[in-house]
Amino acid sequence: METSSPILPQATTSRPDGPTALIQARNVSVRFGTTQALRKVSLDLAERHVTAFIGPSGCGKSTLLRCFNRMNELIDISFTEGTIHLADTEIHHPDVDVIELRKRVGMVFQKSNPFPKSIYENVAYGLRLHGTRDRKILNEIVESSLRSAALWDEVKDRLHESALGLSGGQQQRLCIARAIAIRPQVILMDEPASALDPTATMRIEELVLDLRKDYTIVIVTHNMHQATRISDYTAFFYQGELIEFDATSRIFANPAKKQTEDYVTGRFG
């Protein structure tokens, strides 16, 4: 990488000065077949901060999220252009192992998707994949991950029961525990609370604020209040383009663009 300080193409797409940029995306475009999903998006993700992606359905926010751990590659007809640096590494470089990338960039999905295994085995899954066999280490990390995901007290007596017996909110927190068990640097969250009731949503939000101390978090959300409650920066997307990217307070209180204002005030979207 040429430089570690973010040089940004446009002032409007820049993250305000402050924390280090852990991920730097430049001119990222994604196309699925003939459909352009994302157009030349450039932005930085601040380390140990929460960045929210907002915008109406189909605006490209989830597509960009899935660029950061190269999940779009699972779709045969996807084509990605532009560069994304994670710290000093261009993640599309031929030397980059996508498996190592995904160990460092974890993901939580919209619909909770625990494996039909026990609670313990769900959290231990990533560790086992990457070769951890020592029972003592597994036990320790499973416990600490479940504690970090604020789930330990609820499940400590039934670790070896099926994860599918948990409630929706618990399942989603289990998926977060599973993601952080392999100690990623970044956690990508794709509308993690959209299928949950208000109480479960609140717990996820508290968790996100708590995890911010250790992880760089990107969260896609449809819920504008959620973005204001938990994010430090907000990026507004519309029709595959990044319209505005700024500190969350400014995006909601004093947006620079008319479109952003219309969206955050609920006039469309």
Binding site: I99, P116, L164
Partner: protein, 330 residues
């Protein structure tokens, strides 16, 4: 304007729709009743036929079917009602089904994994393979018998003899035997395993694959840790169906391994074997007096039925061992 409070003492105004059932037969309802009666009749008819067959077998074979019959061999006169035993046929049929399972399960599972995990459901290649598999399922079993003779016995076996034997040496591989009969049966039952496995693989939600990939799993790790455990009940169902189909088949093994008579039990894959189904055929067609050997014939067929049942029960038992608690409830 009337009050909206409910008054328990005043009945609701008469409903203009007649809720009471109309007198006499309504044609649509009569047809519906008739139809449900027909479906029930068809179901009970099948059950009745099944019980009739089983009852007839037990009744006709009862004088011969006992422990001695099951556990003794037979000498050259297998039509003698006093001394006839059936052990070699039980061993032969069991062996060919088990060896077949050994081959058909891995081959079927790997094919289904390719179709379900490595190709798109509607890609040209997948459609081609699926079409071939479906056609394979429609081929008459005698054709598999001839294929087995031509391909396994003559071609594969013959080639092995050429390589390892040499001129003048007695053929070891190039003759009908347990191995070739089992392989022929494996080819015949392949579609059953492939279809059952592929269906259970496709039923696994893609969100589980995504979860696995997002944790840095390779495709192989995802298959081993998520796909196969989830698909296992379906795979074993395929196995049960394949065993059920193969156990009773005679045509595929006629030319590829079944023996009319053998003095000893088979003890290598290159031995021929006696077989329950084939033995029933021999009893029915080769005896001097069909009347006198009928009890042996029916006892033999009953044994075949029970053996098929036993093999299926073993497979079902294995399937039941998969922890239920971790199955997806949906």
């Amino acid at each position: 304007m009337e009050s909206h409070h409910l008054n328990p003492h005043r009945p609701a105004r008469a409903n203009p729709l007649p809720l009471r059932r109309a007198r006499g037969l309504h044609p649509a309802r009569a047809l519906s009743t008739l139809f449900s009666g027909l479906t029930a009749l068809a179901t009970y008819l099948i059950l009745a036929i099944l019980l009739l067959i089983l009852g007839h077998l037990i009744w006709a074979g009862r004088s011969v079917f006992d422990w001695r019959f099951l556990t003794t061999g037979t000498d050259a006169d297998m039509f003698d009602i006093q001394t006839a035993g059936i052990l070699p046929m039980v061993v032969g049929t069991t062996a060919r089904v088990m060896v077949m399972t050994l081959f058909v399960m891995p081959a079927g599972i790997i094919t289904a994994l390719y179709l379900g995990e490595f190709t798109h459901a509607h890609s040209r290649l997948a459609r081609l393979i699926r079409g071939a598999v479906n056609n394979l399922a429609g081929v008459p079993s005698i054709v598999f018998g001839l294929f087995g003779l031509g391909f396994f016995v003559a071609f594969v076996g013959g080639s092995l003899d050429e390589v390892f034997g040499g001129p003048g040496v007695e053929p070891k591989w190039g003759k009908p035997c347990l191995l070739w009969a089992s392989l022929t049966l494996a080819v015949m039952t392949l579609p059953v395993v492939i279809v059952a496995t592929e269906e259970s693989i496709r039923a696994i939600p893609s969100s589980l694959r995504e979860a696995s990939f997002a944790l840095g799993a390779t495709r192989l790790q995802t298959i081993r840790r998520v796909i196969l455990p989830q698909a296992m009940p379906g795979i074993l169902t395929g196995g049960i169906l394949a065993i059920g189909r193969a156990a009773g088949e005679v045509a595929p093994i006629l030319f590829t391994g079944a023996a009319y008579y053998m003095a000893r039990l088979p003890h290598s894959p290159t031995d021929q074997f006696m077989d329950l189904g084939y033995h029933a055929f021999i009893l029915a067609t080769q005896s001097q007096s069909i009347e006198s050997i009928q009890p042996i014939l029916f006892a033999t067929v009953l044994t075949l039925l029970l053996l098929t049942l036993a093999l299926s029960i073993v497979a079902m038992f294995i399937r039941a061992q998969i922890p239920r608690a971790h199955d997806a409830p949906m």
